[in-house]
């Protein structure tokens, strides 16, 4: 079912005889667990910007509006989507575009997350339909709002298991006038994380902090065949600020090695590729996303290399993208390394039977499992919205 308005979503849920698979264009169906449902309910038919007030820094759009369209609309006013939501279709084996509803429902953020917050941090308001077929408004269209329980945060990242998001209101900000990237070459992950930590701990507002091994760096055109491992720090601001801060940061990072610079155009292309995880698009096997405290990122890379996996780092070492064999042994290695580091993993791409059988996200504390089941029932008492998407039987 692809209703063209919210009333259609309400009707589809009210009349659902059984479980519904909830999606936009389905660009991210490969992540988490496959949903066993006889019917699919898509928000792809709910399109269009419903409010855009550039001077108030807010934009509202129906859930099926593509990220690409939204990006174009705000770019016309010199603004951007703060959390840099990635297009993960290619990585996840889909030729479909991501929608804003999907970006919020999965709370997936790009490189800027490390400095400017996640997708969910910029959701000012939502409209959604719960599993009872009721329309809910959460938040609003203003930048500061603490009225009532924060249902916006709860629905962001709930993967369609509590309610179907039909419209999203986001905070936007002016896009930077200029970008630049500082590049350190030949570093091992531990050295890279130390350098990125120094960069992120500097007063120069670094807004991207990544590391690629040589074999992945070679796949990124904007790196122009630099060769070898690359450690990358991005600056974005007015041109004079970027010029000044690049020089200061270059001096501060000198203890880690010689620093090369990438210009505005190369930086724009580079960080889009990092956000979209482009270097791993053609890698065979499974893909995991691991979030840990940044200083643990290098240890994860080492542990993954031991099982023959390839990794890249973002968020100053706090985000590890892992490409490895789609085997139970590899998954258990991810679980073990991530748990030991106090972080969380998410299975992003794997064969269906396999991802039905493993814990695609960590189980979480037992007390929250019981509360989580009651929260699910509070929104979706019949259990019809994306059942089993995150956890088997829930």
């Amino acid at each position: 079912m692809i209703p063209t308005d919210e009333a259609g979503i309400v009707a589809a849920i009210q009349h659902a005889a059984g479980p519904l698979a909830i999606q936009g264009h389905g660009s991210k169906l490969a992540m988490l667990r496959p949903v066993q449902a006889a019917a699919t309910l898509s928000t792809a038919g709910l399109t269009g910007v419903t409010l855009y007030s550039p001077n108030e820094l807010v934009i509202s759009a129906r859930a099926g509006t593509t990220i690409a369209e939204l990006r174009t609309v705000v770019a016309k006013n010199g603004q951007h989507l703060i959390a840099e939501p990635p297009e993960l279709g290619a990585l996840l084996g889909s030729d479909q575009p991501g929608t804003i509803g999907g970006a919020v429902a999965t709370n997936l953020s790009g490189p800027r997350r490390v400095a400017w917050g996640a997708m969910r941090d910029h959701v000012m308001g939502l409209r959604a339909v719960n599993g009872r077929g009721e329309i809910l408004r959460a938040g609003g269209r203003v930048l500061k709002n603490v009225t009532g329980l924060d249902v916006c945060k709860l629905l962001s990242g709930s993967h369609g298991t509590l309610a179907v998001i039909t419209e999203v209101t986001l905070k936007v900000l002016p896009a930077p006038e200029r970008r630049a990237t500082l590049v350190l070459k030949g570093q091992h992950p531990a050295e890279a994380v130390a350098a990125l930590s120094a960069a992120l701990g500097s007063p120069y507002a670094v807004s991207g902090a990544a590391w690629l091994p040589g074999n992945l760096a070679a796949l990124v055109p904007s790196l122009g065949g630099l060769g070898g491992n690359v450690t990358l720090a991005r600056l974005e601001d007015f041109a004079p600020s970027v010029a000044y801060r690049s020089e200061r940061l270059r001096a501060e990072l000198a203890e880690f090695g010689a620093v090369e610079m990438l210009d505005d155009a190369a930086s724009a292309a580079l960080w889009t590729d990092i956000g979209n995880v482009s270097p791993l698009v053609h890698a065979p096997g499974a893909i995991w996303k691991i979030s840990v405290r940044p200083s643990q990122g290098a240890g994860i890379v080492d542990a993954m290399q031991a099982i023959g996996a390839t990794c890249m780092l973002d968020w100053g070492g706090g985000l590890v993208w892992v490409s490895g064999p789609a085997t139970a042994a590899a998954h258990h290695a991810v679980e073990a390394a991530t748990s030991a580091a106090g972080g969380v993993w998410t299975v992003m791409r794997a064969p269906d039977p396999w991802r039905s059988a493993v814990a695609v996200i960590p189980p979480g504390p037992p007390a929250m499992a019981a509360i989580g089941a009651r929260v699910k029932a509070a929104f979706d008492p019949r259990g019809i919205l994306n059942p089993g998407r995150m956890v088997a039987g829930a």
Binding site: D121, V142, L143, T147, K153, S291, P362
Partner: protein, 478 residues
Amino acid sequence: MIEQPEPLHGVLARRDSIVAGLRRLLPESGVIAEPLRLKPYETDGLSAYRQTPMAVVLPETTEQVAAIMAFCSSGGVRVVPRGAGTSLSGGALPMEDAVVLGLMRMNRILDIDYADRCAVVQAGVTNIGITQAVSARQFFYAPDPSSQLACMIGGNVNMNSGGAHCLRYGVTANNLLGLKIVTVDGQIVDIGGAHLDAAGLDWLGLLTGSEGQLAIVTEVTVRILRSPEGARAMLAAFKSNEIAGACVDSIISSGIIPVALEFMDRPAIHACEAFAHAGYPLDAEAMLIIEVEGSVAEQDDLLGRISAICARHDPISLKVAESAEQSAAIWKGRKGAFGAVGRISPDYLCMDGTIPTSQLPAVLRRIGEMSASYGLQVANIFHAGDGNLHPLIMFDANDPSSFHKAEAFGADILKLCVEVGGCLTGEHGVGVEKRDLMGVQFTEIELDQQRRLKSAFDPGWLLNANKVFPLTAALRAA
């Protein structure tokens, strides 16, 4: 007056055995039940409302909090969590039949990690205490509510506190990584950690701003940030609210996001100037305080751009600080605003709504009309970047009719905020103060959804009862 429901008489009747039970869980000094010693806990920052609690407990460890919660929930005893008691919405207002759980003795900083840019602190550490602990290394904790000298991080989490710099750095929710909580039945749970973003449901996001309705927060992992090289302010005064509003629009549309963008109307300017002698222009109808960050050259560049924009809006005066001292002087009046209003009026209510910023001139006009019809003075302070409006309504607490008028005036302002597309509260929370207005912003279906969410965490509605949700319906859902 906001109605306070009848206490649970069955619980009150068991008072002695409840206090005795609490004494078995805590050291001697950790339980307060003597009427005279309960006095300091009978109100919070919304001092017009007072109730003496049954007892106050002051745990020093998360394990003690867990024991208290297990004991209270098994006995059906309500619990009111409390930090420094600075809530302006009555979020920490006790109830006669409730135990106040004060977190102020849990005031230790447990870990600071500069490489990973985070700190783990107990709930009773003050907001400013976090920044002070990391300032020697030029780091800071970003959210800066006006009460930051006193207010505690546990309270900040529960109210999702903001401050003057949220346009750049976000509110509390945007600066947290993890929590240690105690559930209503006494289980200790770690939420999040030192990493970014949850893999499952965002409990951290839901608990932040939950006003003590869902769980007790005992520890918080916050993000700490490197301080900018410097910051400097400027002041711009205008002939009307409309012109000042248009100037804010022009600044934002030029692509500049100042770290602070504060608006004061004529009564606020006059009150602050009389108090602080900050050199504010008394002939202005509206004034902006604009702050930027960076190196001195970057500050010069941004303040130059902003001055040029202000100059196109027929300003009465423009004053760019040349030094940190001049910056402090510009801020002095604004930061003393509450004290300043306190000098002209024996009492005032500090309201807190949010409006779409484009609505400011119209909203100030309507507030002016209401001020005339209620016969009460009002001064308006506004976080112009994010739309958070703080009208200070002046009244005389010795005259009950004056207080009732002030409350009605405040309610009318908040209804107006919702009517123009905003919300009831931007940073102070609903608490007791705005509980009965929730129906203005939310439908019954939406409120019922939130009530079911509360019930999922607190099935017996023992946590901070009689707040946030309108009373009658709360009983129905419970």
